[in-house]
């Protein structure tokens, strides 16, 4: 599974990285990333997750070939 992060999250994680760990769903992925870098914890709480350009909810079951995007709150405009 691949993880892509954006914007301020790039100060805490690589922009894109391979995830070998056994995480089943979005909730577990959020926990895993928070453990990986605790100072990103507050930010991760406000992030949404997307796969194939669509937001997925907390219970989405991650699949081996998924590329999951971690989407902080928007600040466009």
């Amino acid at each position: 599974m691949k993880v892509q992060v954006f914007a301020a999250l790039k100060d805490y994680f690589d922009k894109e990285f391979e995830l070998k760990e056994d995480v089943d769903n979005v909730t577990e992925l959020r926990q895993y990333l928070t453990e990986l870098n605790t100072s990103a914890g507050n930010m991760l709480k406000t992030c949404r997750f997307a796969i194939d350009d669509e937001f997925v909810d907390q219970n989405y079951q991650l699949k081996e070939n998924d590329t999951i995007s971690v989407i902080p709150p928007s600040s466009g405009g």
């Binding site: 406000t46 928007s74 600040s75």
Partner: protein, 157 residues
């Protein structure tokens, strides 16, 4: 239609194309980079997007606006990359037979783009510091990252 652009927005060209024989009212919004924010002097901004996702979302927002109001024209384009003070970061153009709908749709589109579309700005200040953000903080109020407080909802229109 290109919704996300790495090059300067061609506002004049977009406006020139935004005419329609049945449209009596055209409203154009341009969001431009200010030379200051939160009391700090701004050098330039840099915008990043999840481009494929942002493009689809802007297209969907424009379509939803068309279902809510009788629009002859509804276009929007957001810049990515480095944007200088005075340059436009986002443009929204709406046109309709009467002006009330063109204004309302225009506000609706820019509000939804700002709150929902995966685009982020990083401010670079003249003192050399930078800051991500000006984030949508609606979740502080709504308790849900998917629920936003839109300006257009606060108008009766």
């Amino acid at each position: 239609m290109k919704y996300i652009s790495e090059t300067p927005l061609d506002i004049v060209g977009l406006f020139a194309d935004a005419h329609h024989p049945q449209a009596g009212a055209i409203v154009l919004f341009s969001g431009e980079v200010r030379d200051n924010n939160l009391g700090m002097s701004v050098d330039y901004l840099e915008y990043e997007a999840h481009e494929s996702m942002a493009s689809k979302m802007v297209a969907a927002i424009l379509n939803e606006a068309r279902t809510k109001w009788p629009l002859d024209i509804a276009v929007a384009q957001h810049r990515t990359g480095k944007v200088a003070v005075g340059e436009s970061a986002v443009v929204v153009i709406t046109a309709s037979p009467h002006r009330s709908e063109a204004y309302a749709a225009n506000r609706y589109i820019i509000d939804r783009i700002k709150h929902e579309v995966p685009i982020w700005k990083c401010e670079y200040f003249t003192d050399g510091t930078k800051k991500w953000g000006g984030n949508c903080n609606c979740h502080d109020v709504t308790g849900d990252v998917n629920k936003h407080v839109y300006e257009f909802d606060q108008l009766k229109s």
